[in-house]
């Protein structure tokens, strides 16, 4: 049952570059009693989440403390095809961040591309919704939010920030694989609106590989089974 009390409602961050779709997803989420923040880009989403759109600096104390987030977000729902940072790029950033990796991420797309869907799910997305999204899809979010809540030993209400000191891995089968940068670079960005983002992604990943020790930690990656067709 979804709580409707203002203090304990789940907070969903919705990311979509289309104004119409933002309006729609916002209404869908509000009708399902969620608190909603909408942004029009992946980089704005990262700002809301407390990460800047650059390499996260793990040595900075603020990036590892649980309350460095400006706003507590319980779930991220993002469009796949966006100019600049795609929903997939955002997913990777979130899952690659020590403070954010346990926030469930749901991807939406107007296109039914199995390779795309599989890649997102393998790389940590909870669900993939085909657009246009509807009320039935909103029901599915609840189980991911409640599941998250149950995994947190101390969480009594959904309000606390999602990251906790010790946390069971969300998906036990995730292998401690090394970066799959080479595998993902092979996928020429498969949506027309982000032809520039694949280059950006490649260079961003290069940067991250060189300067961020995060990369040596186990990542929620594709468990070695990324199949690119």
């Amino acid at each position: 049952m979804t709580v409707v009390d203002a203090e304990s409602r789940f907070h969903v961050l919705a990311v979509d570059d289309s104004l119409i779709d933002r309006k729609l997803i916002e209404k869908l989420l509000k009708n399902s009693s969620y608190q909603v923040t909408t942004v029009d880009s992946g980089s704005k989403a990262l700002e809301v989440l407390g990460l800047r759109d650059e390499v996260e600096d793990p040595s900075s104390p603020s990036s590892s403390s649980p309350d460095h987030q400006e706003i507590g977000v319980n779930l991220i729902i993002t469009d796949y095809c966006m100019p600049g940072m795609t929903g997939y790029d955002l997913l990777k950033r979130v899952k690659g961040s020590s403070s954010l990796k346990d926030i469930p991420v749901v991807i939406m797309s107007s296109e039914n591309v199995p390779a795309r869907i599989n890649r997102c799910l393998e790389d940590g997305a909870e669900e993939f919704f085909l657009k246009p999204v509807n009320l039935a899809d909103m029901k599915k979010l609840e189980s991911h939010l409640l599941k998250r809540k149950q995994q947190l030993p101390m969480a009594a209400a959904p309000e606390p920030p999602p990251q906790q000191p010790e946390k069971p891995p969300h998906k036990p089968e995730e292998a401690a694989a090394s970066t799959d940068a080479t595998q993902t670079d092979g996928i020429i960005s498969d949506c027309s609106c982000s032809s520039s983002s694949s280059k950006r992604k490649a260079s961003a990943m290069e940067q991250e590989g060189l300067s961020s020790p995060e990369r040596t930690k186990p990542r929620l990656s594709s468990s070695g089974l990324a199949v690119e067709t």
């Binding site: 104004l19 729609l24 009708n31 657009k131 032809s195």
Partner: protein, 158 residues
Amino acid sequence: MAAAALTNQLNALVNNMFAMGLLDDQFQQLQMLQDSTAPDFVSEVVTLFCDDGERIICELARQLEKPNVDFDRVDSYVHQLKGSSASVGAQKVKNTCIQFREFCQQRSRDGCLKTLDLVRTEFYDLRSKFQAMLQIMNRKAESTEKKKNCDAEAEGAS
């Protein structure tokens, strides 16, 4: 008095649009989402779609006039229009956008131009019906407001 007649008018218009394949189920989803906390939800979304569609179609015409057409760019605009038509339930326009994207993939300027004509015609047809719908909705809203005020006055008087 006007409210009931306006509701009938609105229903007739919307039903006709469904029957002609201009709208699909998604439009019903929008109607279902509208409630007392967002009484203008449908008109707001419809208005956004009309403005957005106009902007995109103009841009498409501009892009296709260029001596060297950037088909990826054209495709990206069509993708946007397809997305917003899908979200609003504009079935016919959405389907034409799908065709349009095929021509973009084929790098066919001719195909693109023909499909642009088609999508423009369909969009304008849809838009005029949406505008009629918005007018009825506005009049309904006004008549509801009037009634509220009359009721309040009557209550005050008694």
